[in-house]
Symmetry: C3
Subunit: 288 residues, 3 copies
């Protein structure tokens, strides 16, 4: 029986990236649809859950992507609502790759470092930064800070995270290099999670910290997010700090992404979203 993946995208055109990864993860055929919303998704879900019975149901699954995180989450909730109790299929959400990317950042950083009781600062408050914060808390970090250029935005984000995930994340302002230096002075891990093509962490800032042990950066577009980072850095030590660049993280992200899609076909009741995808990422060897 073919492994069929209903590939839903909230963008107009279903992502080729997500399609290729799905095939490489073992899906036999994709049913790809763009412009999917919570209003047109129910029939598609019913088509998946009412066509194969019992133990065969696990051969059908759903992937939801798109560049708009909120729209994707909204479709995710509609998909869940369309299920009839145990008559359901496994689902994965990965809007803009943010879940798998954030999981990859944290797993790479932890491949050679124990975060227990340590302090983490994340420069950037977008989806990847938020999810990475969530996972660092899960891994036992003493304190995780999410910074934004605007303290108001940082506070909104961290109080939303408190409400939705019941986690304590510290809001931080990062309007200047001085601000960032302040944040880093007793920090062990710093993550560049800003927009593509913007350097958010100068050498002056990270060089001033005496505790910093690990630096990671998800920005693959020059100028990179962390000064002196190189895109291929994969555990390279510079001035006593271990560097992880966007390609090293991206390669591991692909492993997480493929493993997550593959896992959908092992049972019919997985729901891999930003909270659960990390558990799966933990099962993937991050030492190689």
């Amino acid at each position: 029986m073919k492994k069929l993946l209903l590939h839903l995208d909230t963008d107009q055109i279903a992502s080729a990236f997500d399609s290729v990864v799905a095939y490489d993860a073992g899906a036999d055929n994709l049913l790809s649809h763009g412009s999917v919303t919570r209003d047109n998704v129910t029939g598609l879900v019913h088509g998946m859950i009412f066509t194969r019975g019992g133990s065969k149901l696990k051969n059908s699954a759903i992937f939801i992507g798109g560049s708009d995180v909120d729209a994707t989450d909204s479709v995710g909730r509609a998909v869940k609502k369309a299920f009839f109790g145990p008559v359901r299929v496994s689902v994965m959400l990965d809007p803009n790759g943010s879940n798998t990317t954030a999981a990859a950042v944290v797993r790479k950083v932890l491949s050679d470092y124990d975060v227990t009781g340590k302090k983490v600062v994340i420069i950037g408050s977008g989806p990847v930064g938020q999810r990475a914060a969530l996972y660092f808390v899960k891994e036992g970090a003493r304190e995780v800070v999410i910074t934004s250029r605007s303290m108001t935005r940082a506070k909104i984000i961290t109080s939303q995270m408190q409400a939705v995930y019941d986690v304590e994340v510290t809001p931080g302002e990062a309007a200047s290099d001085e601000d960032i230096k302040q944040h880093l002075h007793d920090t062990h891990i710093a993550i560049g999670a800003g927009p593509a093509g913007v350097c958010v962490l100068s050498k002056e800032a990270w060089g001033s910290s005496e505790t910093l042990a690990v630096l990671a950066d998800v920005n693959a577009v020059p100028p990179l997010g962390v000064e002196e980072m190189e895109i291929m850095d994969d555990g390279v030590e510079k001035q006593g700090i271990t560097f992880y660049g966007a390609i090293a993280i991206g390669n591991f992200k692909m492993k997480v992404h493929r493993a997550a899609v593959a896992s959908l076909f092992e049972s019919n009741d997985l729901f891999l979203d930003e909270t659960t995808i990390y558990d799966l990422a933990r099962t993937i060897d991050n030492k190689i």
Copy 2:
């Protein structure tokens, strides 16, 4: 050579249900398109008939679905028109699953009962009811009645059926329980073919008949279409009457649907519409 199915849907989004069934029926790859009309279908048909020659042509086929029966029929006619004599591929029409569902209803009912010379009443005048009526006539029923809340609508439907299929179906009004009792008093088979979530046949109505031997219901959404019907009933006897619920019918419908799609790839000249799909359904064992 791959079995390729051009999967056309008159709805905006091509049905996932029909896609999954097509794969399970043995199609290797689907070319799925939503928003198909008689005006944009010709090029697609030519793409199927002009790419593979001679005996290889049977590896290409066309499935037409959609929630609007008339729109689907219209596309079906346009597809036929786009063929060049013997340069054609096999085609299946199943708008809203109505053809395969109606065939399944009749085959299930006949699995343990001989309708020859008997009277059938169908409560509901939609596509499934109409097609079921057609098949009961074909099977030798003495009289088949299609009821509607409005006698005018019932008459329109039955005279259309006379014109299109050259069959005699009796129009019946079913505005009240009293009406239905009247229809059932000398009836052997009654079919609930009303809308989802509406009970169209009360126990008082069906209980009053002294001739009734079989009851079937296509409505899977509570309240079911026939009082005291259970969705899983598959030949269960209650007060001397054999009951067939929506799941039992639905399971057989899946067999018919899959067998029909599979048969498309056996020759290049099948045209499975509401009149011919039943012949195929007859070849499927309905005793198990």
Copy 3:
């Protein structure tokens, strides 16, 4: 690893013809998208080039089709622009089948004739005619004429060809049979490359030439483009002239089309457009 083809179409609905040929050429799965423009294609291209690394990249490829040649070329340029140096996949452009059809015309004509030093007249100035002219020049024809009903259009086309491809093609007016007779009187090969269903070359015209050795016609819709041509003619001699009809050319076109798609998966850096597709067509046996 699956051979994945990103199938882009500038028309609203992705061509079924191109889809079927792609599967028959060995693609395992297609990612088909209609309504593709230079403005929405970049993300799709990145999805193909950033998902598989190194030697595996050749298992991903891109096909661009559509009935509008200019729109397709525009998408082709945008695809090229989206590559990052060697991080690219193989691409094929075949708007309206014009590249593969023109290549097939020329290869069929040359299967039994040496064009070196000879004169060719092409009746019709559309994409197929233009590309055929290009290939005849490449094969060493002494002179190649493209005719149009309007000399102004013929001159525009040939000067564009000079500018874009650096080839010398002679513009010719073909407003009357008299004009065409003039063109053919010292011509060896004449090609009917006019619109479907229009006879562009009368018997009186081609019969008047004493040098004419080969006649080919791409029009498959009666009346055919060349009087006394039959659609199945495949090297048939009539009055000392060898005839090639639309089906014979079409069958070879299919071979070229399939071989071209298949070749995309042999490396990651092919770019098969109107200038390069002919080199590939030359590797296919045109004697059988």
